[in-house]
Symmetry: C2
């Protein structure tokens, strides 16, 4: 199996290599592609030094391509790569809302992949990072109790905007501490010691695209078209891991202890919920961790039988690189990759 990573030098690309190190995914060849600016360096994976090449125009000789080079490259190139026979696992939002394209979190809807024929290639969409983190906690709850409404407020790290987002926060922080002027390029405003309720572009309904992605993708991944989701997506001055405060109205009333027990056996979830021991989800503990931390599980004050909870998940891992590799692993296990 010939594997390729497009966007190998970015924040997600970096994590893809690190996830592949520990993954059981079998491949015979791994090639790394990036923009001309980043090509020419070498990166290491599984004991091998690999040259980062300039992404070719046209098709790429690979069976599986992990694409993480932004929406516009995916949009224009992925169809060409598929024509060449490749399976493209795409980290951008370019194809997520196409009803013919599977949008996959393997623990939740991996089976959807088996309904497609991949012998001539195709596109699998990797979800938005905020959504991927949220659904890990929401899906087990939805299966048992049925979610009617979800209100989600996010605390999103600067690495959600890639490595350059993290650099901007660090540079601004350094300057702020030295009382030097702070400039911004990646974010709409200065992010150091600030909060910006604006991620991705604004839609006509007053929500940002990021906020609507959480609604659209949650429904698609969980195959639950009737769940109502209101999201407020907020950038805060952290480096990695997205946190989310979630309030749920449920069809069947839930007790916090039962939800805790349920999530303790859920795949990809770590229940971290012991306030007396100061244990709850935080970027400090969730960063670098494959599992999504879930805690602050309590009876909602607004919905009878509803649940409030807090999650923190490394959005570069489950929200991006880890989930992409898990999709490839799932497809390989099911014999969907030639």
């Amino acid at each position: 199996m010939r594997l390729a990573i497009v966007g190998a030098s970015g924040a997600v690309g970096h994590e893809l290599l690190s996830v592949l190190e520990k993954s059981n995914l079998r491949y015979d060849e791994l090639r790394l592609y990036a923009s001309p600016r980043s090509a020419g360096t070498t990166l290491e994976c599984r004991g091998k030094k690999i040259l980062v090449e300039v992404m070719p125009e046209g098709k790429i000789d690979a069976d599986v391509i992990l694409a993480s080079a932004g929406g516009s490259i995916s949009k224009s190139q992925a169809p060409i790569w598929v024509e060449g026979g490749a399976i493209v696992i795409d980290n951008s939002s370019a194809f997520r809302y196409d009803e013919n394209i599977p949008l996959i979190v393997p623990e939740i809807n991996g089976d959807v992949l088996e309904q497609h024929n991949w012998s001539k290639g195709g596109i699998v969409a990797n979800p938005n990072c905020t959504t991927a983190v949220a659904v890990m906690a929401l899906y087990p709850i939805h299966q048992k109790y049925g979610i009617k409404r979800a209100i989600i407020s996010t605390y999103q790290a600067t690495s959600g905007a890639g490595a350059k987002g993290m650099s901007e926060l660090l540079e601004q922080t350094k300057n702020a501490l030295e009382n030097k002027p702070v400039t911004n390029e990646v974010f709409a405003h200065s992010i150091v010691f600030n909060v910006i309720p604006h991620i991705d572009s604004f839609q006509d309904n007053g929500y940002t695209k990021e906020e609507m992605k959480v609604a659209w993708e949650t429904r698609k991944i969980m195959r639950a078209p009737n769940i109502k989701v209101s999201c407020t997506a907020v950038r805060i001055p952290t480096l990695r891991t997205h946190s989310e405060a979630i309030t749920l109205e449920l069809e069947k009333p839930a007790q916090p202890n039962d939800v805790r027990t349920l999530l303790e056996t859920a795949p990809g979830v770590e229940v971290r919920d012991n306030p007396a021991e100061k244990l709850y989800p935080m970027p400090l503990t969730a960063s670098g961790k494959n599992n999504v931390e879930v805690g602050r599980i309590r009876s909602s004050q607004v919905f009878d039988g509803g649940i409030d909870l807090f999650v923190a998940g490394d959005q570069l891992l489950k929200g991006a690189a880890l989930n992409a590799v898990q999709i490839a692993e799932y497809m390989q296990q099911k014999g969907l990759i030639k």
Copy 2:
């Protein structure tokens, strides 16, 4: 009128002096009190240098005392000060939930003060900072549309824990940038580049006291005992200004444009809601500002006719010092202070 500030050297004390500079509150004498550790310095207000004295044991010779030295001092001392004839405007939570003690945001329920006899002194409670910021936006909406449910997620600055909270963030940030070890005393965990869903102590119901304060105080201030409020209170690495993502279910359906128009004439509110121009509430713009910024006003995706919005208010001002001085101003205007 003899005015005194207890806790003059703290973060709120500092703001009280700065608010008094611009206030019309008339007083003949201003005395400043602090702990023995902070006493002995001089602070300036209205062109006068004032010595910070050690807070006396027993009564204080003042007609109005602005108390901001923490809950335990207020709890033990305020009744003694009142015995001495003083009106105590208390910034702690010690008396807020006593049904005989008015909990006041002057723009909302200042009239409650007129139902009491202050000739022999008494206590007025100043609300929790998160609540004071939220109700500025919620009350006009409640009056016109009737709020049934409010889901509030907070983004709270380190100065909510006083000047020492800010210092801890700055110190940790400096150390983190230099890859030095980070220690924490004020907060339960390291706050630099982190998010801590834990403010004040945990209650039996799994909510923190901070979260329940928002529910209790919102109902008391707005005289709306039936509003359901679920809050998640989260500390983030900012210096000042609390932000809040709020989702509202309403009795009467609201249109975002009408809510915007309504809030544009609301006292103490600045509508900052033009996404196309990147205008929305943020600590960056709300810090140091008396008015609470309100924006991101949009139709809720979970409640028909409901509203989602985002607020940012300087919690040291409207959430503490400004509101306390406004209470004193209101009482003086109404002739309630001898």
